[in-house]
Structure formats: C-alpha cells, structure tokens
C-alpha cells in the first residue's frame, strides 16, 4: 500500500527536468567529457578519438500534463535523448529529474520501480511480444508489476476497447496491420497507468492516413488523461499538430525550443527554416500573434485569441466580411483581425529562403 500511496503522490507532479545532459558513446566517454565541454566539435571527437557525441548540454523543462515534442532528423540524438528519461541509456553527465527525483541517481531496484510505475513507452517498431496475443501484450506492464491477473485483464480489455481494438484480443501481433499493432503498443503503455508517456517515433512507421488517425487518437486520449508525454518525431507536421512545446535537436544539441508558433514565426536558423518552410502556417499561427488592437467596425463575429489563422479566415469567408473580432478566454474583445493581414501572415515567407533555386 505504501508504494501505491507514493505513486499517487508523484503523479501530481510528473514534470521532466533535464539539466546539463551529455552523452558520449565510446570506450572512455568520461575521459573526453571535459574536452567536449570546452568546445571540442562532434567531428573532431569522432575523427581523432573514435568517440561519438550523442548529446551535448541538453537543458529542457517539460511541464506536467503537456506534450513535449522533440524533433530532429535521424542521427540528431532524439532517440538517445528519450532513452535517458527512463534510463535505457546511461548518461555521461547531467541530471534527468522526473517528479522531483533524479533518474540518473537511482539504483537498479529504484529504477525498476520507477519504470514500472512512473513511465510507459511506445516504440517505433512497436516492440510487441510476437508470441503473445494482443491481450497478453497489453497486460505486460501490469504483469511485471505483480497486479492480480483478473485486474490485469479487466484493465487491458478497457484499454484495448479504448484504442479501438475490441474483438482482436486473441490475435497475435503479426496478424494485425502496422496501425493496429501500434494501437496495441499504445494500449500496453496506457494500461500501465503511468503519468509519463514516452513515445519514440511512435507513428513514424505508419502510412500517412493511419498516422493522422493515430495522432487524433492520441490527442483525444490526452484531452482526458492529461499525462506528460514526450513525443519524438522527424515529421514537422506531426510535431506542430501534437506538441504543446517543441524542441529541435541537431547533432545532439537543442537548437531551438518553444511553441509551434514560435518555431514557425521565428526559426532560429536556416536548418529550422528549412524544416518549417512548407508548413501550413494558417494552422499553426494563433490569431493573437497577428491581431491589431481594439474591435473592428465591420466585424460581425468573434473568435478566440488561441484559435488559428485558418479559423479566422474561414469565419470571415462564411460571414462574407473582411474582419473578425478576437476575444480572450472570458469573452472580452481584445483585438481584431482583417482579411489582408490574415492572408499576409499565412502566405508570408522569407524571400531569400523560398526562392525556387533553394527548393531542391
């Protein structure tokens, strides 16, 4: 009972705080740590010393109950980063504090308890047990925890139903399509009832329509469950759709961190610019970031300050007017948006980066 009480308490605060995290792969990582801290480059470390710099001075705060996306191309260190949160990989230096406790300081017993009760993980290639049926896969986390079998099953059936797999309980994973297999992976993670959900490119192996579908499933669940979710992806649209906040990783370093809108409006460098140049800005930028002060004389309707520009444009065209008023959460009018500035904000691209020559 004691441990359950403790778990309950920790669930109040499952924020993740990463401080000064370094990971060097190789035979003598500690030996090169200081050199890396002093500015040795990834190339130099690799070519001269045969060590690979996985992560360099990562500092990230992830608020409890929100979705933190970590985005980067392959080799950027994003999968390495997420594996530090439940310590599937040991760091070379730094702290990973989950719910007030440093994961890196835990002994193997504490770490196992932490993994059993505080986290659950979804994998890119699903990581299902091929010799077990769907239901026996979903109970896995609870089985490891030592929960009685009848409760394992009732929990599992609830989550199988919730992810839309009712009727497939007794199928084996390789009888299911990729999308369905990942639903099993998701159900397995949710059945664990852990406050922190780690998703490592969870939807990357799925084809686009199924991926959209799974994103909707996740957002739908999240609106109800309010877990802390760390979501790894290389897909910018996925990142913008899911992420309350997005961190962009390159060569093991965080090069920008912020909301989706921050990243689209003010990309920190050309690398990120390239990432976001084809994004549908109308679905990312919030009306409050573009609006002018005060109400507009022609406006006949109002939309919320946290709605996207696309919503504003749709409203104006439905109403056949050229302006709409913006309200805050209490319904007070805080500004307005006209058609001209809306369209300008949606189509605006930095000329020097969007010339046809650049689009290779």
């Amino acid at each position: 009972m004691e441990s359950e009480a403790k778990v309950g308490m920790d669930k109040q605060n499952s924020s993740v705080e990463i401080r000064g995290l370094y990971k060097i792969f190789g035979k003598r990582p500690k030996h090169f740590l200081q050199a890396v801290k002093d500015g040795m480059s990834k190339q130099e470390l690799q070519e001269k010393h045969g060590h690979v710099l996985g992560l360099k001075d990562i500092n990230l705060s992830m608020a409890a109950g929100s979705i933190q996306v970590v985005m980067g191309l392959s080799g950027s260190g994003k999968s390495t980063l997420i594996r530090h949160i439940n310590r599937l990989i040991d760091p070379t230096a730094g702290e990973v504090i989950v719910g007030g406790e440093d994961v890196c300081q835990m002994n193997s017993r504490a770490l196992r308890e932490f993994r059993r009760h505080q986290t659950a993980m979804v994998f890119q290639k699903f990581g299902l047990l091929p010799h077990r049926t769907v239901i026996n896969n979903v109970v896995y986390g609870l089985e490891v925890q030592g929960v009685p079998r009848d409760r394992q099953e009732s929990e599992a059936r609830r989550w199988i139903d919730r992810v839309g797999l009712s009727g497939f309980e007794d199928n084996f994973p390789n009888q299911l399509s990729g999308g369905m297999q990942q639903r099993v992976g998701l159900a397995r993670a949710l059945a664990n009832d852990a406050p922190l959900l780690l998703m490592d490119e969870a939807f990357s192996a799925l084809d686009p329509l199924i991926r959209m579908d799974m994103q909707s499933v996740l957002l739908d669940l999240q609106s109800e469950l309010k877990k802390t979710i760390v979501f790894i992806t290389h897909d910018v649209d996925e990142a913008l759709r899911l992420g309350d906040r997005i961190a962009i990783l390159r060569d093991g370093e965080v090069i920008q961190e912020g909301t989706g809108q921050d990243i689209v409006l003010e990309p920190a460098d050309e690398y990120i610019q390239n990432f976001v140049k084809d994004v549908n800005r109308g679905r990312v930028i919030l009306t409050e970031s573009v609006m002018s002060d005060g109400p507009h004389a022609d406006a006949v309707s109002e939309i919320n300050a946290t709605d996207h520009l696309e919503t504003a444009a749709r409203k104006m065209s439905e109403d056949e007017v050229v302006a709409v008023n913006i309200t805050d959460d209490e319904g007070k009018v805080v500004g307005h948006l006209d058609m001209e500035s809306t369209v300008a904000a949606i189509v605006k691209q930095e000329d020097r980066h969007s010339s046809p020559d650049d689009r290779t």
């Binding site: 994998f123 990581g127 047990l129 091929p130 077990r132 896995y140 490891v144 390789n174 009888q175 664990n192």
Partner: protein
C-alpha cells in the same frame, strides 16, 4: 642438415617420462577419488536403471501405444504418427525391441541431462561475452575430439557400464544445445528487449517472458541436434558396455555379420527419424503464432 629432414622433436626419453607422469598422476587421482566420483554419479545411475527397467518391463503394447500417442500429441500429424507406428512394429517384428528400448532409454536420459545442464550454460554464455569466449573453444574440443579418446579417462575413472556410457554421450551431444541456446538468446530482437526493460522487467522476467520464448525455435533446433548426436554415439558407447542397438552392430563388425549390422543400423536410423520428425514438428507447432501473417 638432419634437422631439415626430420622435425626437431622433443627427446624421446623425456617425452616418455612426460606421458608416464601424466598417466600415473591421473591414475593416482582416480584411485583416491574414484569412490567419490562414483557416488556423485549415483543418482544418474539410478535414473538410467529405472528408465531402462521401465521401458523393458512394461508390456510392449503399452510402450508402443505410448510412443505413438506422444508422436501424435507432439506433431498432430497423421503421417508422422503412422510412420512412428510402422517403424516400431518393424523393429519389434525383427526382434530388436529390447535393444531398441535400451537405446531409447540411454538416449532419453542423456538428452535430459544435456538439456538440464546445457540450457543454463547457454543462458549464462549469452549474458557474458567473456564466458562465451571461454566456453566456445571447450565446445569445439568436445565436438571434434574423437569419441574414443575421451572414453579413456572416463573408463579409467568409472570403469565400464552405463554411467561412463552416458558421460561419453553427454559430452558429445551437449555442445549443440549450449551453442544454440546462446545463439538464440543473443538473436532476440533488441527492440522487444528494450520494451521489456522499459516496463521495468527484472532480469528473470525478461528471461522468462521474452528471451526464452523468442529463442525457443533455436533452442528446439539445439535439442533436436542433441537427440541426433546422442543416437549417433550409441555404437561407440557400446564399446564401453552400454547395452542396446550398438552392441549387435559392434558384434557384426567384429564377425562380419552383414545382415545383423544392417538390421540394427536401420533400427537406429528408424528411431532417429522418429525422434527428429516428432521433435521438429513439436517445435514448429510451438511457433504457430508466427504462421498467420497479416495480409496473407
């Protein structure tokens, strides 16, 4: 230029002394510890005696029925079951039933001992690269050393009889199960293991829930190999007093009884095919989950 024509070998007297020294040292050791070693193997001896008595004293129709039933439940194949039945009937008809029972008895016990020892060794090997690099050369020696050579110390230690025969068979037959257990566990998909770790599995839970089940096809192949090698060694084991189908073969070689040798040799083949087909079919049935694939 004599050293060019003849390899500069060790001095003959010194070499003789060396061999003598090792021999007498080992002999002294066996004299001192022979009883203890024999006592150590006593349970295995009892097991051998019991299983042979069981197979020989039970009326043959019951044994025949039992073997056919096992074949059916393990393979669920009419073909294999029918083949098992016919082979056993032929063996009995040509008056080789008792010797076949003796051979099956020692084969079953040595396979059992090989599994009990081999799987844990294989698991330990899969967990440690150091242990693997230590055990692999030993297994190489066990498999390539001619059977007759390790019969010598075994006979010196335990005399002739069932237990030394079993030891010889186990030494010869255990390497495949160790190797394939090790290999099977090492080949388990890394992502599935990672998933097991991520959910907080203990080392035992990981072994029981993930590694052993996923390595099972490979381990079954090892068990199958072990059975085949155990059968292959029954003729050699008969040289040190193991009764069974090997003895008439040995007799046939010494006296040039072609037909006697042929019949008993074929009986060994028959038993081997039964155990091979049945154990393979069983192994395949264990993997039934991988047969129905999405989209096919």
């Amino acid at each position: 230029m004599e050293w060019l024509n003849e390899f500069p070998a060790m001095d003959k007297t010194a070499l003789r002394e060396l061999k003598k020294g090792i021999d007498s040292g080992f002999r002294a050791w066996t004299r001192e510890h022979g009883d203890a070693v024999e006592a150590f193997f006593e349970p295995i001896k009892q097991m051998l005696i019991w299983s042979e008595k069981f197979l020989l004293n039970t009326p043959w129709p019951i044994i025949l029925f039992g073997i056919v039933a096992i074949a059916w439940f393990a393979s669920r194949s009419w073909k294999i079951t029918l083949m098992t039945f016919l082979t056993m009937v032929l063996i009995g008809y040509f008056d080789m039933w008792d010797n076949t029972m003796r051979t099956i008895s020692i084969m079953l016990v040595s396979t059992f001992v090989s599994i009990v020892l081999g799987i844990p060794i294989g698991i330990a090997m899969s967990k440690s690269d150091k242990l693997q690099s230590l055990v692999t050369p030993i297994l190489d020696v066990m498999q390539t050393m001619p059977g007759f050579v390790y019969l010598i110390p075994v006979v010196m230690l335990l005399g002739i009889g069932k237990v030394p025969g079993l030891l010889a068979v186990v030494i010869y037959a255990i390497p495949p199960i160790i190797r394939l257990t090790n290999l099977g566990i090492r080949m388990v998909d890394k992502e599935v293991l990672e998933a097991a770790d991520a959910f907080g599995s203990s080392a035992w839970q990981r072994l029981k829930n993930v590694q052993i089940p996923l390595a099972m096809p490979t381990i079954m192949a090892g068990i199958n190999q072990t059975i085949m090698m155990a059968l292959a060694l029954v003729v050699i084991a008969s040289m040190i007093g193991v009764k069974g189908l090997g003895q008439p073969v040995l007799q046939a070689i010494a006296n040039q009884y072609f037909t006697l040798g042929m019949f008993n040799g074929l009986a060994i083949v028959g038993v081997a095919i039964i155990f091979d087909r049945v154990s393979q079919a069983y192994g395949k049935r264990l993997q039934s989950h991988s047969e129905v694939v999405h989209g096919k």
